[in-house]
Amino acid sequence: MKKPVLIVSLCLGIAGFVAAQGGTVQLQAAGATFPAPIYTKWFDAYKKINPKIEVNYQPVGSGGGIRQLIAKTVDFGASDGPMTDEQLGQAGFKILHFPTVLGADVPSYNVPGVNTSLKFTGKALAGIFLGTINKWNDPELTKANPGVKLPGEDIVVVHRSDGSGTTYIWTDFLSKVSPEWKAKTGGPGTSINWPTGLGGAKNDGVAGLIKQTPNSIGYIELTYAIQNKIEFGDVQNSAGNFVKATLASVSEAAAGAAKDMPEDFRVSITNAPGKTAYPISSFTWLLIPAQIQDTGKREIIKGFLNWMLKDGQGYCEGLAYAKLPPPVVVKEAKAISLIK
């Protein structure tokens, strides 16, 4: 007697939650992990204003976002690195890039006995990650840090093991400041053949390895460093100044690049001009199809982009993201009309 009752109630329960519910429109989006916190914040805030609109964003990675967009399994994508011409060609339909926020990579390290902010030249960082500079008291490092006692220990390099926009930004910078780096590794990429070092999975993995391994150095996202109160060093920018990454210095880098920004917003802003610009900064973009058949979806996306450029930017500081500089915002607002 027990069993049939149980089975029937089980079936009813199952039928209950398998049945579909209607009412709201749900859009699907996929892409970069770096801006995921602010994107989810935005979509949540947007839902509060428009209760019938749900945008489901999943941080599967920039490459994943691009591929899903091309396969049309999502309505739009997001990426830390701009799509290449090859990828755009593969898509078969036009895709527009919209910068949303700015990110930056910072050099984080764990050197026993050193409690101050170390200064790194571009050459020093390239040498460390190439493996040509392998001791902490190498002249390239001591030169930039007079007064700091650097030990004669081996440097343990930590990098990302998973493909990532963070790696793209870092290698983009190194390629610009070190011809040797560019020749050896082939230039920027989300996944490269690292000459040396341990691989950590995601920011968490890298930060964890750095924290636990004495005499190590690695690169992590600024947002992550701020949220977790991790010590990091200054980097020398194109004007020769050693700049610490802050939300302001990162936005500076974008402002500097704004003048020469191409129409499609696909630009690298590492090593940007500007006295106080932080050299390892980058945009992150939303990838929107230029032609959206479904009127409802089109209006939702355009509405969201407009909101993002005005009210959305207000949420940046709270989550430690750098805002878009005003000239870029103006340019983007115009580009929204390109979505038909």
Partner: protein
């Protein structure tokens, strides 16, 4: 007492205590895990954790309600695929199969078992998601179901084979046909093991993240029916644990505790309802 006897007796004592040590080590591993999860995630567990949708970063009060329901949906679909194929396939291998077919099918199952979960996810993506043009709970359930099959197949085959011949012969001597014997005698006799195998397979896929990333995709909100992308506990745990925010980390551990708790409850309920017997009725 000869030297040899002393040696045999001491060996006896040593080896038997060693097995106890082995069991202790294994069990303590689980307690370490549970302890870690409870210590780090315990603070996040309260009523709203179970009933709320995820809150965006920085806001308190986020919950995993949609992930719990999502995981349940996925496991249901997975069970509907994995149990029939695994169990009935095991019956075939144990009772009907000739040497060649048995060899190939066992081999295929072992191969499937060794495939990394992410590759199964990619496979499910190309078969289900691409055909449907969108992510869905069905695709996720399919991936998990495929992962369950080899575990159920191989274990159930062993349990069915270990049912003593005497039971089978007894039934046949009473005039039952082969399929009747299997259904009414062999399977019930092996039921303890079969249930173990099914629960083990479910437990394993309940915690899998990689196959869901490109199939069920994930969802910040409620997903309706089986055709939409859905949140799932392991994916939520993974995303939160990898995020930079301490609050989300705590939620990740708490969600881990919830996942284990749900598996435990399912195990308990199943054993209670379906009863538990071994071949020897111990």
């Amino acid at each position: 007492m000869t030297v040899r006897t002393i040696w045999r007796k001491s060996l006896n004592a040593v080896m038997l205590s060693l097995t106890g040590v082995c069991a202790l080590v294994t069990v303590s591993a689980l307690f370490v895990i549970l302890g870690f999860l409870a210590w780090n995630g315990g603070r996040s567990i309260h009523w709203t954790f179970f009933t709320n949708l995820p809150a965006p970063t920085g806001e308190v009060g986020g919950g995993i309600a949609n992930a719990i329901v999502g995981s349940a949906k996925l496991l249901l679909i997975a069970a509907c695929i994995g149990i029939p194929i695994g169990l009935i396939g095991a019956i075939y291998l144990a009772e009907y199969a000739g040497a060649t077919w048995a060899f190939f099918i066992r081999y295929a199952a072992d191969l499937m078992n060794g495939v990394p979960s992410i590759v199964i996810g990619i496979f499910a993506y190309s078969v289900v998601v691409v055909s449907m043009h969108h992510f869905s709970a069905l695709a996720g359930g399919f991936a998990l179901g495929v992962m369950m099959i080899p575990v159920i197949l191989r274990s159930c085959e062993e349990f069915l084979k270990s049912v003593p011949r005497s039971l089978r012969e007894g039934a046949m001597a009473l005039g039952a046909s082969k399929w009747r014997t299997i259904l009414t005698v062999v399977v019930p006799a092996a039921s303890g093991g079969i249930i173990t195998a099914i629960l083990l397979a479910l437990a394993r896929v309940a915690g899998e993240t990689a196959p869901l990333l490109f199939t069920a995709f994930g969802n910040q909100f409620w997903s309706s029916g089986l055709n939409q992308p859905t949140a799932a506990l392991p994916v939520v745990i993974y995303n939160y644990a990898m995020s930079p925010y301490d609050d989300l980390h705590q939620q990740a551990w708490a969600a881990g505790l919830v996942l284990l708790g749900l598996v435990l409850v399912t195990n308990l309920l199943t054993r209670m309802v379906l009863g538990r017997q071994t071949a020897q009725g111990r």
